[in-house]
Symmetry: C2
Subunit: 334 residues, 2 copies
Amino acid sequence: MKSKINIQTIAKALGVSTSTVSKALNDSYEISQETKERILAFAQQYGYSPNPYASSLRSKKSKTIGVVIPEVGNSFFAAVIKGIESVARKKGYHVLIYLSNESFAKEQIILNEFQSGRVDGILMSLALETNAFGHVEKLMEKGIPTVFFDRTPYSIIASKVVTNDFELGYHATQHLLNKGCQKIAYLLHRHHQGHSHQRMEGFRQALADTQIQLLPSQLIYCDSNVDNISITSALQQGRFDGLIVSAEELVTPLYQVCKKQQISIPQQLKVLSFCDFPLATVLTPTLTTIKHPAFQMGETAASTLFKQIDKPQGLTNEVIVLRSEIIERESTQG
Amino acid sequence: MKSKINIQTIAKALGVSTSTVSKALNDSYEISQETKERILAFAQQYGYSPNPYASSLRSKKSKTIGVVIPEVGNSFFAAVIKGIESVARKKGYHVLIYLSNESFAKEQIILNEFQSGRVDGILMSLALETNAFGHVEKLMEKGIPTVFFDRTPYSIIASKVVTNDFELGYHATQHLLNKGCQKIAYLLHRHHQGHSHQRMEGFRQALADTQIQLLPSQLIYCDSNVDNISITSALQQGRFDGLIVSAEELVTPLYQVCKKQQISIPQQLKVLSFCDFPLATVLTPTLTTIKHPAFQMGETAASTLFKQIDKPQGLTNEVIVLRSEIIERESTQG
């Protein structure tokens, strides 16, 4: 192990003051380029890295943004994060990812943690369980720059980047109606919130506009441990001719049930998924999906956040709506 | 906005010394349970949260572990993270996720950052691009507890949690040989490293043990922007009867090419994937995969790390090998 290098030892070795070293390492305009380079080269050679806690206390900036997402292993959030990172990299910021695992309790703990100033700004998509927003309100009161994306707290005034959820639900339903479906089911998580409400409202409205009454049996709720039995019995009893899958992880159980019960897609049941993912193109039949501008959502949310970080005063809350589009494949044809 | 609460205001309000407040908040044995509860209740009521940077400087612990993974949107790493979190939660630690995006440069930046003590320990799986380990060696020299998992630096002595990669490659190949395959291709990323080497060595050995010579054309390399053209031409020229897919994201292009070129799986080409994921069960044909103990790998890596954090002296490096198993499905039948 090397002996410990600090600002004092660097100053002594190079015959300059500690304040010169400190200013040089902080890229101060008071120090000449030549001196800066000499000090940086020495610091690098001897593996000196400033303590981030100490330097954060001085600058009050952590140069870090926190991203709260409900889960990993999901193509949508993976693409959003790539978009966020592409913007953060240019600004010289680190991106830290916090997982709520769809848990309201975990989300509260994470937000509580943020109150103490560990990050300079927050990008957040809510957990499925979250239906109350006290923890979000508390965070906003602290004045930490925050932008919500995709799953946002509908009752809170804040900057948000969303897709046109109501329209999506409406157009998806219209797509199935245009294909001749008359009895459309809607497959969703038991805990659902904000954006799925909007999509479901679009679904309701599209049916209402076609004088079709929505029966409770058309909403098929799945528990977090998705069990195929509830889907099987709902499909058997409902005799649906169309179905909207509202979450990526519900596609596998649906295809499993249809295969086992010999329900042929699209002949007997036309299926549309609110989530797009690469394997949708090789399923049998290939799956009609809605393609969300996930990378762009990450970019936009991060850019909006940096506007807040750079100019915390006098910014109005922006709600930016991005457009998603239906990618028609075999599962809704014929 | 509330007025700022700090240790001084709490002390004044409750008529105790600031040192009593500080000790109570740090759960010191010097303070009575009753006083602790009174102080905690007050702190909570007025939304006091200690500055983590300041308290980290005092305790020299951030109560945070950093997890470096190459990508999100992958079922394997998603399950590993769940395993890590289940252990960290019990220990009262935060888990922060750092993404290398398979980039060697990004990985170097992240590890450099860690040198300054932002986290108490590191769990890490290497980027595909990483073939040199100077940045890892530098980190190890600093004495920060570190455990590698899945993709590990083969030439570095460190604690590692891995699967039996060589055996996996060997058994997967044997599985295809037993099904009658004679000319087996191996689909992989151009940048591959450590663990894939071991798996590929197992593949080579299994062929050698059956007196089959491995031709260079049997290794089909894909660029990071996977293009179907190179897979198509390799399959057309190679006339393979078996194929091993070495990464989850290569399954979609392979199935796309086979569909387009009317190569029927498993009749003409038997396919086995080194990665298991839910949709493997609904592909046509369903895909034979290797199921890795991903959650268990996360648990084991985290437990090993906490042993190091709790007792930094005198620990030997452990290499723990977990077992994976072949899940046979339709793609290798017949």
